[in-house]
């Protein structure tokens, strides 16, 4: 493989994407923003799958898992957006700090 790009580069990239996603999830107040952060976290996992597949010598296992994760992410987005729509119906906003009515 040219350019001296090793598994660690991929892992670092994955970690950075995960960190960005995590930061997005934790810091956003917008529900859609949080969902987007979740997508970033899922994709960081996909990077790992592909990297380990490529460097680990497996045939297609990683790719198949990555496809599953994308499919899952799509499903999660559907459900998540439906929840966001429901929240909007009830609260007229998608700011999650306004939906703290479940507090004890």
């Amino acid at each position: 493989m040219g350019g001296g790009i090793t598994l660690y580069h991929f892992l670092v990239l994955s970690l950075i994407v995960f960190g960005l996603g995590m930061y997005c999830v934790l810091s956003r107040r917008n529900a859609i923003g949080i969902l987007m952060g979740v997508e970033l976290i899922l994709n960081s996992a996909n990077i790992n799958y592909l990297a380990f597949n490529f460097y680990g010598g497996a045939k297609y296992d990683g790719q198949i898992f990555a496809i599953f994760v994308i499919m899952l992410a799509a499903a999660e987005a559907v459900v998540g957006l439906a929840v966001v729509l429901a929240i909007y119906q009830n609260f007229r906003t998608i700011d999650v700090s306004a939906t703290e009515t479940m507090s004890g």
């Binding site: 934790l26 107040r29 999650v96 700090s97 479940m102 507090s103 004890g104």
Partner: protein
């Protein structure tokens, strides 16, 4: 007697008055209001008259039978079969109950008819006839019941009706008190009667034939001779017959339980005639005659009956001498005449006793109804001192009353002569000289007080108010008096004394009833000489004439002052008789007051001791429950509340964790994951 003829008409005689009573009680008020009193008359009198018609046809049928077969039974349904006790609802018609049935429905029917006039202005007319019908039903049950328990049902039933009719005008306290007195005094006798039945049943059980069916008792009675009660060693027959006689003294007003009968005159006069003269009070005599086979086996009881009967006959007659209330005289006269009947059955002359029962029903009903007419005409006045001279205004009442008086006085050929003279003679013929003397003296006094009554009421000048004199009228029901008066004249022809003619259809008719061996022995008199009988009749008659002579001198011609006799012994004797020997007062002191005192003492005991114990127990339980309440409140509830309070508190504290802020949760998850990683890293490093 062993094979009675099964028939099905006796039930009609009994049920017709019951139907009448039911209709009168249930529909009476409606009928009276919407149809009128005629409807009540038709139901009330019709039922009894129809019963009488059936009874007459039964008599005709019975007379066609051979004397020894004159027993009929009408079996309705089983009543109770408990252990050895087999009782059925069945009715038993034999010559004795035949005669009683004819008296009850016949004389009773006449009195029913008379009542339609006497009670005409009464508001609760239906109630009167309802009770009168119910009485007829109960009396017929008493007479026709084939076992002693059924007889006892009738026995109690007539007592109830008597109570209700004495207190018929219940708005006056004296009337209801008189009713209570009759009922309570009768209870004393009834208790004895029930005990007698128990003793008899036990005795018959001891010989292997437990039964209360009358004809079966008759069959097994001879086996009872010599059988003793398991306690005190009394003979079964002697003990039970004595108790039965005590029962009879209650119902039939003998010493010592006669006190209720004079007070029973508080009821309407037809009631006095029907219940307290003609029928109910004869139940005791009927019972003794019905169970003659038992009584004949107990000579001691027989002597007691004869002596009590004789004493009552004389004792009540003396009280009758001084009474001024027209009905009171007749009441004591009834007690006295019942005494004659008991004396008769007591000496063994059962047929003579039953015969006097019948003739007495005729003439005493006539006397009572006649006095009822007088009271009605006098506007309710009952004091003979305010009457007088009524024979001009009320000729029919006077003539019938006189006929009945001659009958009760024993003047030949009136009915009373045939029956009463026979009793007096039989007492002597059976060797009871003491009883004979009592009856003889009673006969003389009877004539005196009866003619005193006739003279005070119907002769002399009118002593009432002018208004009463104007109001005097003949009774609208005088034809009933004529029938009864005629019966008082000719009613005795069935049993003419033997020294005149030897034709005695009445005695022959009753003969099968008194045919048991032991009874035959008792009935047989010691003296059978006709000339002796004639001489004794003459002695009686001369005393009768003497009694009449004194009454005539004192109250009609008034040439002899009654004061001459009433002032004997400084008037003390007269006061004694006038106040009925103070028997009521003595009973009051001896029984009523101690009883009331005992009830008061018991009431005090109840109020203070028993209630005290109960209240103390209540207080203790209240205290214990208060303690228990404290425990419950502080310990049990405390634990439960503590559990809930702790749970609530913990929950309150923990609920803060749920902020509802998604970010917060995510920080928490992150922190936890990092903590786990850190711990693992440290652990691996360590």
């Amino acid at each position: 007697m062993d094979h009675p003829i099964p028939v099905s008409f006796i039930r009609l005689i009994i049920l017709l008055p019951l139907v009448g009573a039911t209709i009168n009680f249930l529909l009476g008020p409606w009928l009276q209001k919407n149809v009128g009193k005629v409807a009540i008359n038709i139901v009330g009198c019709g039922a009894v008259i129809a019963a009488f018609a059936i009874a007459v046809s039964a008599l005709v049928r019975m007379l066609h039978l051979v004397p020894d077969d004159r027993f009929m039974i009408d079996y309705l349904w089983p009543w109770m079969h408990i252990g050895g006790l087999d009782l059925d609802i069945a009715f038993w018609l034999d010559p004795l109950s035949m005669i009683m049935t004819l008296i009850i429905t016949g004389v009773g029917g006449l009195i029913h008819i008379y009542s339609t006039g006497y009670m005409h202005d009464e508001d609760s007319y239906w109630r009167f006839f309802g009770w009168l019908n119910l009485f007829t039903f109960a009396m017929l049950t008493l007479v026709l019941g084939d076992n002693l328990w059924l007889m006892f049902v009738g026995w109690e039933g007539v007592g109830l009706c008597s109570f209700a009719l004495i207190g018929f005008w219940y708005t006056t306290l004296a009337n209801t008190t008189a009713g209570n007195k009759a009922f309570i005094v009768n209870r004393v006798g009834d208790l004895a009667f029930v005990m007698a039945l128990y003793a008899l049943f036990q005795g018959l059980g001891a010989i292997g034939h437990p039964t209360l069916v009358t004809r079966e008792i008759a069959k097994y009675a001879p086996m009872l001779a010599g059988v003793h009660m398991p306690y005190f060693g009394w003979s079964v027959v002697g003990f039970s017959t004595l108790l039965m006689f005590i029962g009879a003294t209650g119902k039939s007003a003998q010493i010592p339980l006669y006190v209720w009968l004079p007070d029973a005159m508080a009821g309407p006069t037809p009631v006095s005639a029907l219940i307290h003269a003609a029928t109910m009070v004869t139940a005791g005599i009927y019972m003794v005659a019905r169970l003659n086979f038992l009584f004949s086996m107990a000579p001691a009881t027989m002597t007691v009956i004869a002596v009590i009967g004789g004493l009552t006959a004389l004792f009540a007659a003396t009280i009758g001498l001084a009474q001024n209330d027209i009905k009171k005289v007749l009441a004591y006269s009834t007690v006295s005449q019942l005494g004659y009947m008991f004396a008769a059955v007591g000496v063994g002359a059962y047929a003579a006793g039953v015969f006097h029962l019948m003739t007495h029903a005729f003439f005493k009903a006539c006397l009572f109804l006649g006095s009822g007419s007088v009271i009605h005409a006098m506007g309710g006045e009952q004091d003979m001192r305010k009457m007088g001279g009524l024979r001009h205004k009320m000729p029919i009442t006077f003539i019938t009353f006189l006929a009945a008086t001659l009958a009760i006085a024993g003047v030949p050929p009136f009915a009373g002569f045939m029956s009463k003279d026979e009793i007096i003679w039989q007492a002597y013929a059976h060797g009871h000289v003491f009883v004979w003397l009592l009856l003889l003296a009673g006969a003389a006094l009877t004539v005196f007080y009866m003619f005193r009554q006739v003279y005070m009421t119907f002769f002399g000048e009118f002593r009432g108010t002018h208004e009463q004199e104007h109001h005097l009228h003949e009774s609208s029901m005088s034809y009933v008096l004529i029938v009864l008066g005629a019966l008082s004249v000719v009613g005795g022809l069935g049993n003419i004394p033997e020294f005149i003619v030897s034709w005695k259809p009445f005695e022959e008719f009753l003969d099968p009833v008194f045919s048991s061996e032991v009874t035959r022995h008792v009935v047989e008199s010691h003296i059978r000489s006709h000339s002796t009988e004639a001489i004794f009749a003459l002695i009686t008659f001369s005393l009768v004439v003497a009694g009449w002579y004194f009454a005539d001198m004192m109250y009609r011609q008034q040439t002899m002052d009654p004061e001459r006799f009433s002032s004997i012994g400084g008037g003390a004797l007269y006061d004694l008789v006038l106040n009925k020997y103070y028997v009521d007062e003595i009973y009051d002191r001896a029984f009523v007051q101690p009883y009331l005192m005992a009830t008061r003492a018991l009431a005090w005991f109840d109020l203070h001791i028993i209630d005290g114990v109960v209240n103390f127990a209540a207080v203790v339980i209240l205290f214990l429950s208060w303690l228990s309440g404290l425990f419950d409140h502080y310990v049990v509830d405390g634990l439960v509340n503590a559990a809930s309070i702790i749970t609530l508190d913990v929950g309150n504290r923990l609920r803060r964790l749920q902020t509802g802020s998604i970010n917060g949760y995510l920080y928490g998850i992150l922190a936890a994951v990092m903590l786990i990683l850190l711990v693992r890293a440290v652990a691996r490093a360590g």
